[in-house]
């Protein structure tokens, strides 16, 4: 576990998420005989692939002290660009590249608005959420594109031969692995943590704060586009209202993974474990018989637990250490 996480109690929460994962699998397996089947697990992985990929980039952003609410609209915009260009006769592979480029440009726009014009990222990305969604309507109007090449659509829906892993697992594992490695081991990763803790001191230590943040917004745009490609293939269509509401699920997953909303704290596997356990919990409860409404309440409850539990454990820890003679490590809690 990287010695880099600043507050010790965050460390316990990563374990907390894994406990939930195990609990969910147990409940699912005993609650319904349909849970622990290969096809169900394959579906669960398929259903969380897009959110997990965007969550990797969102983890960087939130740790650096920023946020991006427009990721779902960027995902839809890249999907719409793929549909639009493919319909206009561009070969599908080129259309995918166009989609990725559009996502990158959208992320760059967010980055420029925040770093060059100094606008607050929460407010700006609410505006670009509307802007990018609007551009989807400009591209496709109300005519979704649905005649996509069957071999690509198969890629979006089938499993890797004789395994229960969908093809989307490959980009997911690759991106998650690289993001984990970069965040916790490389210079850039250190910079992201340090910028989140104190951007002024980072600037004085020669770290190109604006450049790093611009890059993170672009990376988030690109990852949203990658998710857009997978989304397009999975649903075999590009439509202007795709992926509505994804942004809050991504943010809920990142926070459930133990990342502090004020920045400076978080781990990549905490977030990945969180995305996986949310997917497994949803599937388990669904198969056990929960209605969609109950699922909504449970996911809200889990999000609350993800912030209440660390506070409770930290409170207990500080009580116990008060009793012991060991010096009182006053943990500064970011609001």
């Amino acid at each position: 576990m990287s010695k880099f996480s600043v507050r010790k109690y965050r460390f316990t929460w990563d374990k907390g998420v894994v406990v939930f994962l195990v609990a969910a699998v147990l409940i699912g397996s005993f609650g319904s005989e349909y849970f622990a089947t290969a096809s169900n697990l394959s579906f669960v992985i398929q259903s969380i692939a897009e959110i997990a990929i965007i969550a990797t980039a969102m983890t960087y952003l939130i740790i650096s002290g920023e946020i991006d609410l427009s990721v779902a609209s960027i995902m839809a915009l890249s999907s719409a660009s793929i549909g639009y260009s493919f319909q206009a006769g561009v070969p599908f592979e080129a259309a995918i590249l166009i989609g990725l480029l559009v996502g990158l440009l959208a992320g760059l726009l967010n980055g420029v608005l925040v770093t060059v014009f100094g606008l607050p990222s929460l407010a700006v990305t609410i505006a670009t959420l509307a802007l990018f969604r609007g551009l989807c309507w400009v591209l496709l109007e109300n005519k979704p594109v649905n005649q996509l090449p069957t071999d690509w659509v198969a890629l979006g829906n089938d499993n890797i031969p004789n395994t229960f892993l969908p093809w989307a697992t490959i980009p997911l594992v690759l991106i998650a692995g690289i993001s984990w490695f970069v965040l916790h081991n490389t210079k850039l990763g250190r910079w992201v943590f340090v910028i989140g803790v104190n951007p002024v001191a980072s600037k004085f230590s020669g770290i190109p704060v604006k450049g790093v943040k611009l890059g993170l917004f672009a990376f988030t745009g690109l990852m949203s586009a990658v998710a857009g490609v997978i989304y397009t293939l999975r649903f075999a269509s590009a439509s202007p209202d795709g992926g509505a509401g994804y942004e809050l699920s991504v943010i809920a997953a990142v926070l459930f993974g133990g990342v502090a909303i004020a920045g400076g704290v978080g781990t990549m596997w905490g977030v990945m474990a969180a995305v996986l356990s949310l997917g497994v919990i949803r599937s388990a409860l669904q198969l056990v018989g929960f209605s969609a409404n109950a699922l909504l309440v449970v996911s809200g409850g889990l999000l609350l637990i993800s912030v209440i539990l660390p506070r409770v454990t930290e409170f207990m820890r500080s009580q116990s250490s008060k009793a012991s003679i060991q010096s009182n490590k006053k943990e500064k809690v970011y609001k």
Partner: protein, 501 residues
């Protein structure tokens, strides 16, 4: 000035411990109305803990505090204020978005019936400001006020609760001499209004100029209290340090090598203009001048934290691009910033992270930053700077001011710079660490490091610098050699008038 017999405030045998550390160890203090009382002592001597006890931030474990004969209600800032005890911290924390009138009456706004009476508040505040001879518009918001003006607002706040004991914690650290004079006259007005004023400072010249009485603290206890008139500066230092302070400013002679840094008529709109100088290897160039004369702005522009409009900066003949700190660093320039907490350090992070953040490039092996490398760098510099710490993973915010400054120095010396710029390197740290820092800097200079030292303390710049560049209101008024420089000359150049503090 009538010194009454009955002490307004008396603290006897105060004890206070945090975890294992005994911050207050039997401190006694007697304050009389109509008297300015200096509280002296090194960092870590327990001064701030004593202040916090008076301010009601926390209770003392044992011992007593009597306020004009009655026990002082402890443990709540509001109760302290209501009992007429007000503490003004070094960096006063006002409400940037609220008007000055509201800042004075925050939390206890004047009311007409149940409703806040804005007109009354503005009238009262304006009256208080006038009484202290300060003309500030009570309707403006506090954001952007200079530190000096912020202190005035805090004093007005104290007056508005007709405080009888006003404690000022190192108020002059960030003030220009004009502002220091204004503060002294305000302190004298308070004394004439029969308040007991406590003045905490490191600057003995100020203590002698202002205070009637003083008390010295060391290692959590009060070691002596005396009328200023019958004690000398060296005796005070001896009481503070408890051991013979070795030579305060050990300037080692050094031979000057070739020019490493060349600055030609550097200018930035509204901040500074036509700054030109050269810096040689092994040379210490002092930047003297009043607070607010633009010295920090110049060095920030050279290092590339801020950009500038005109002029050039070249290192070893090569031009440095504007506003690119990373480029300056790779050219061998380093800047120890003025604001330690906000600009110099990552307070919640560990000593290892703070020290190695500037040299991550060197610690990367096949993309991976080696944690062992980070610890080695931190260990090496902690030893060189004789840092007092428990473990490398301790959060920096738990260390004393002096140790924090050592980490900032270590962090920049680790980049093995050719040119080191230090901005107020020894502000707010104890006398002992100050001399260690000076010895280290002059050793480095002797080994060929080119050094720029921005400082507001005249003895420090006179003691350390080979040449002194004096600035006034953003202009470079003169470069004095070590021989021709003197306190009077610098002050006249810096203030543009012969007025002496």
């Amino acid at each position: 000035m009538a010194v009454t017999q009955e002490p307004v405030l008396e603290m006897r045998g105060a004890m206070k411990a945090f975890g294992g550390v005994q911050a207050l160890n039997g401190a006694d203090l007697k304050l009389f109305a109509g008297e300015i009382h200096a509280l002296l002592g090194e960092n870590g001597a327990g001064k701030s803990t004593l202040l916090k006890a008076l301010a009601g931030v926390h209770k003392i474990d044992s011992g007593s505090i009597m306020l004009s004969g009655k026990p002082f209600l402890q443990g709540s800032t509001r109760a302290a204020q209501q009992q007429g005890v007000a503490v003004i911290y070094q960096e006063p924390s006002l409400f940037p978005d609220l008007t000055l009138a509201e800042n004075v009456y925050v939390g206890r706004q004047l009311q007409k019936g149940k409703l806040v009476d804005w007109k009354q508040m503005q009238k009262e505040a304006a009256k208080l400001f006038a009484e202290l001879g300060v003309d500030l518009d009570v309707d403006r918001i506090a954001r952007g006020l200079s530190i000096a003006d912020q202190q005035i607002v805090e004093i007005i706040k104290a007056l508005s609760i007709n405080a009888r004991v006003i404690v000022m914690d190192e108020p002059t650290a960030a003030l220009s001499s004009k502002e220091v004079n204004r503060l002294f006259s305000v302190a004298r007005t308070l004394r004439d209004q029969n308040c007991a004023v406590v003045f905490v400072s490191h600057r003995l010249d100020e203590v002698f100029a202002l205070c009637d009485k003083m008390t010295v603290m060391r290692d959590g206890t009060t070691v002596g209290s005396e009328l200023i008139s019958n004690i000398s500066e060296s005796e005070i230092i001896k009481m503070m340090v408890g051991r013979e302070v070795s030579e305060l400013f050990p300037k080692l002679p050094s031979t000057f090598g070739e020019v490493v840094l060349k600055v030609e008529n550097l200018g930035s709109a509204g901040q500074f203009k036509d700054i030109s100088f050269e810096l040689r290897k092994g040379e210490i160039l002092g930047f003297a001048g009043l607070v607010g004369s633009g010295r920090s702005e110049v060095v920030r522009a050279i290092f590339g934290v801020d950009t500038y409009d005109s002029g050039t900066v070249s290192v070893n003949g090569k031009l440095l691009p504007k506003g690119k700190a990373s480029k300056a660093m790779s050219a061998g320039v380093a800047l120890v910033p003025e604001d330690r907490r906000q600009e110099g350090l990552l307070m919640p992070n560990s000593i290892a992270t703070n020290t190695s953040i500037t040299v991550l490039k060197k610690l990367v092996k096949s993309l991976v930053v080696s944690k062992k490398g980070e610890d080695e760098v931190a260990n090496k510099w902690a030893k060189i700077l004789q840092l007092k710490y428990a473990s490398l993973s301790d959060a920096v915010e738990r260390l004393s001011g002096g140790n924090q400054q050592k980490i900032v120095l270590g962090k920049w010396l680790a980049t093995d710079p050719q040119i080191l710029i230090v901005d107020e390197p020894t502000r707010g740290i104890d006398v002992g660490t100050k001399s260690e820092v000076h010895r280290l800097l002059s050793q480095r200079a002797q080994e060929g490091l080119a050094l720029i030292m921005v400082t507001s303390e005249l003895p420090e710049v006179l003691g350390m610098a080979d040449r002194i560049l004096v600035m006034r209101e953003g202009r470079q008024v003169a470069i004095l050699s070590r021989e021709e420089a003197s306190s009077e000359k610098i002050i006249t150049l810096a203030t543009g008038s012969a007025e002496l503090i």
